[in-house]
Assembly symmetry: C2
Homo-oligomer: 375 residues x 2
């Protein structure tokens, strides 16, 4: 491999992207924005045509001789988890000078499959498993965007046989797309995502499932709590079945713990006046407090590192726009902005997060301009 | 009762608020803003002093003769659920001309307790159970705000013996505080909140609990999914123990269903390659999709009734302010605004929701001003 990638600087291309869904097409868009030659391939002719049409790259199918002469520097396998190992193996064999990465949400199962494939082991020095921690509830190339990975962690899982320069080239992909590389083992990665990604997905679906037959009158009372907990339940079943299957052992370990807690809570609620019942409930919620406090906020900052203030906004056209203008006019950087709303609510509460030292100044400025700052 | 409240117009006061925590103090602040005489009382001298100091009302303890001559039009019981029925009963007996409402998160248990109290039944025509669907993760009078209820649903649970004019007076309280009254039975209310409030609270805590001993490295990969699912796990254990206890039977019914789904998923994940395993997983997620789609968005609108666009924002001081200013400058009403961020991410993605007909115009305007609109 050349000095360029050994220094971990930038990709030069061409880059072959296999799988042109949300992630593959987003990678194509991002690399095209850097001027790289991106070649796309997808088992679905209509998917790859859409990806090409939005500017994610040219099609392998349109290349002379079907791309037989293509010498990619890097092959990115962005197919569904089910077929990822097979496609990685094919790419390693078809492109003997290329580094091959996949971007699948699980890493150990892919590596184990590859290791077990006859004739592939000798090529694994050029394979690096990766996982960009970015996605959307939507899928397909239509939802793709070049900036999907900007600032997000991109996990790189070098294995025992990975060549150092292959890892550097994989890292260049992450860096070129604006992501923040994070190196860890496949086992560490799979344990982490079981907890921070697959578990929330399961429980969000478990809650949302209960809403299927509920009275409309009940749902009309829902607030941000229910909305937040169920948001990711909108995700794609086909994809998640593959992710759950591929990380089943780790996920089920965590779910055993959840079931224990749930069983204890159910027993307690079945006899809510029994000795110790309240203590049991309080313990669950207190432990939840402790766990929640460990969830990092923006930029890994502790959750409480920003000060908040809330502004009352009439929900008539132009009011939110006016507030946004005037916040802008203060020149104070808003770290987060959230509208609280509720069904039937005709007035919004805009919650702003700012550095603690700026809270007073922003409150004063907005109050002077006639806004009602309520907290 | 007088013509004024029979017409359901406005309260005139005095209003006695018993319990000066987040909700009681917020009610006091809101009614004081309307110029009403609000008298506060709390079992904790320091709590009631704080509530007085922030302007939520004068103290019963400071009134001549300890308030013996006070003739409140309305008594609002805003104590913890545990003592609510007892405090309501005392208020009915102490103030024979007053309407008494409570604002507890559960309604049947309170009514049952009251009905069983000797000497109280004859006064229950003046009692109306209510529940404002508003709150915060914070508690205590320091977190109070007059606008807490603005635009939120406020459930009124008239019972068989409630006098119509008592219900009207309770409704006046909701309306005077800017809330939207919603009438239903105590049973309907308790079933609704078990599903839309207590269930999300339980599962949020169940997930957050799992995070207590997780590696920091794993948490650093967390995205908005985990943050959203665990946000309400920050809630107060003392309060929630009382809420869960008081609605235990309804909540446990729902949790039995959750446990069935969880057990099925665990069995499936224990043998992920068995016949039908994938179908079982897909079914859970698909049913979650169907339930999630029923969660109302802003103003009860269906979740997809707004068009979204995403703008890339460098996270340097002034950039978000600048974006907000320029969105304001377009005059287009923004229905929702959300910053997506991730640990270590130095660039934010601002997701704006607008009426579908305005999406193109806003995209054009922002692009012309040099913003990168990425979706």
């Amino acid at each position: 491999m050349d000095v360029r990638t050994e220094q971990g600087t930038h990709l030069l291309g061409p880059v072959l992207v296999v799988g042109a869904g949300l992630l593959g097409a987003s990678i194509g868009l991002g690399l095209r924005n850097r001027g790289l030659d991106v070649v796309l391939s997808d088992s679905s002719p209509s998917t790859e045509a859409v990806a090409r049409d939005i500017g994610a790259g040219r099609l392998l199918a349109d290349a002379p001789d079907g791309g037989e002469d293509l010498l990619p520097e890097l092959v990115v396998v962005a197919t569904p988890p089910d077929v990822t190992a097979r496609v990685v193996a094919d790419a390693l064999l078809a492109h003997p000078d290329a580094v091959v990465v996949d971007i699948c949400s699980v890493k150990e199962a892919i590596l184990a499959d590859l290791t077990g494939m006859p004739g592939v082991a000798a090529h694994l020095s050029r394979y690096v498993g990766t996982h960009p921690m970015a996605g959307r509830e939507k899928s397909g190339p239509v939802a793709a965007r070049a900036e999907l990975f900007t600032g997000a962690p991109w996990v790189l899982c070098a294995h025992a046989a990975s060549a150092p320069d292959a890892v550097l080239r994989a890292e260049s992909l992450a860096v070129d797309l604006g992501a923040v590389p994070a190196r860890m083992s496949a086992a560490e990665h799979d344990e982490a995502v079981a907890l921070i990604s697959h578990l929330p997905q399961v429980v969000s679906s478990l809650v949302a499932t209960r809403l299927q037959d509920s009275p409309v009158q009940a749902l009309a009372l829902a607030g941000n709590g229910l909305r937040d907990v169920t948001r990711i339940a909108a995700s794609d079943p086909r994809l998640w079945v593959q992710i759950f299957s591929a990380n089943a052992a780790r996920l089920v370990d965590i779910l055993h713990g959840v079931r224990e807690d749930l069983n204890r809570l159910i027993s307690t609620l079945e006899e809510p006046t029994a000795d110790g019942a309240r203590l049991d409930m309080a313990q669950l919620i207190s432990e939840g407090n402790a766990g929640q406090a460990r969830v990092p906020g923006k930029h890994g900052a502790p959750p409480d590192s920003f000060a908040r203030l809330t502004v009352l906004v009439d929900d008539v056209p132009g009011q939110i726009a006016k507030l946004l203008t005037e916040i802008g006019g203060t020149g104070i950087n808003v770290e987060d902005f959230r509208l609280e709303h509720s069904p039937g609510r005709q007035v919004g509460l805009a919650e702003l997060s700012v550095l603690p030292g700026k809270r007073h100044e922003l409150t004063e400025s907005l109050t002077q301009r006639g806004w009602k700052v309520v907290q």
